[in-house]
Symmetry: C2
Subunit: 249 residues, 2 copies
């Protein structure tokens, strides 16, 4: 079965884009076909993968001005294709709100893609608006990056509650793929405390692999490459390879 995973968390800056890019690259390099879709008007996943001037963006597809196959571009990672975002997507929240069936627009157009990707990864913006809702309705699971800090931990309960509501109302297939701890620093008390509390509360749902705070993960987007191509030996890159292995298993 095709895995469609929404990478979501309304808390900002927790590592959604970094996780989307590096998990996608790691799964593709393990010989699986992957499509990464950038649903954030900031278009960080697009620039983080070095995509410059796509023929069409996800905005064009949501507004039915282009078909998804026209928007798909290849990337430097063999096996990983992408659909880019652009600043025009900022208007989509308001434009989508007046369309009937506004929560299912993405789900319908994902269904039209010719190629049968094994994995589709959806990078979400830091909000629970219509773009994230479209991702949660399209997906069969949600991957939640959680920064090892207080505010990120505090918001987790409410996020899980919102996901449950979407599952009950619009998308009964939606499961929790898992929770991944990001920017973990074992030298910092707060990091260790947050890890302990989240593992106690969510148990099995939290991946063994934790993503350490590692400068290669912050540097690689400025070169338009996933960490695996920028510095494969870095602790950050290796942690994402381990996470991908856990996800594939």
């Amino acid at each position: 079965m095709k895995k469609i995973i929404a990478v979501a968390n309304q808390k900002g800056g927790v590592g959604k884009t970094t996780t989307s890019i590096n998990v996608s690259a790691s799964i593709a390099l393990a010989q699986h076909s992957v499509l990464l879709v950038d649903l954030d008007p900031q278009a960080n996943a697009t620039s983080g993968m070095g995509i410059q001037t796509p023929k069409a963006t996800i905005y064009d597809c949501l507004m039915a001005r282009a078909i998804m196959d026209e928007a798909i571009v290849t990337t430097e990672v063999s096996g990983l294709d992408m659909i880019a975002s652009g600043s025009d997507l900022a208007g989509a929240e308001i434009e989508l709100s007046s369309i009937s069936g506004r929560e299912e627009v993405l789900k319908n157009i994902l269904g039209n893609i010719e190629k049968d990707y094994e994995w589709i990864i959806l990078d979400c913006p830091p909000a629970l608006g219509l773009l994230t809702i479209n991702a949660l309705v399209s997906a069969n699971s949600v991957l939640i990056p959680v920064q090892c800090e207080y505010y990120a931990m505090e918001g987790l309960g409410r996020l899980i509650g919102n996901i449950d509501r979407i599952k009950e109302s619009i998308n009964p297939n939606l499961e929790l793929e898992g929770i991944v701890l990001t920017m973990y620093d074992s030298r910092i008390n707060l990091s260790r405390q947050v890890e302990k509390e989240i593992r106690e509360y969510f148990g099995e749902k939290v991946y063994q692999s934790m993503i350490p705070r590692n400068v290669s993960l912050a540097e690689s987007p400025s070169y338009g490459k996933p960490a695996l191509l920028y510095n494969a030996a870095s602790s950050g890159s290796r942690a994402y390879v381990d996470l991908a292995k856990e996800m594939i298993a």
Copy 2:
């Protein structure tokens, strides 16, 4: 003249809430009257200041179910009052969109507050939706925290463009209060590079004071206190006192 400052940046996790709380506390301790308004449905500024069960929230006020004076609470910092947020604010974006004059709802209710605060600080969510637009229409200036990393730097140009558009269309008084560099780490090349590029491009508009990456700033919210009350001697707390001095001057 009353200073009404929107602390805004659509990039997530750049330090908007940390800046709103610690700048508000520093200005209040310098004997100025300050009101901090939490406009984020995540309600991080509310929990970061230890506010538990407010009688009314900003959501109640925006929906005209309460007046602002009912929602104002005192905080542990003398001279600093607050209006709290709650998860119900998540619905405000959609509810506001069907109200006529939807961009000026906050501006109108801020005008009704009895007490004449010298400073009003508006903590914005990580988006350019109606809540942030209401803040930009109410404010006479914008304070932009920018994390010293690639994605945060990349989005800055577009944010300034959006602020200019609001100034031209709805709020001619809107000025740039300044850009503050956050989570700066002089040991990291990327940090120094981003600082150099932003100072070259924005010159005088960038504060001399930079906020270092400092664990006290990440720990203090879990005690519901600004860093000045949690660990006044910390480099993070002292940097916000310096920033407040630059802003007051």
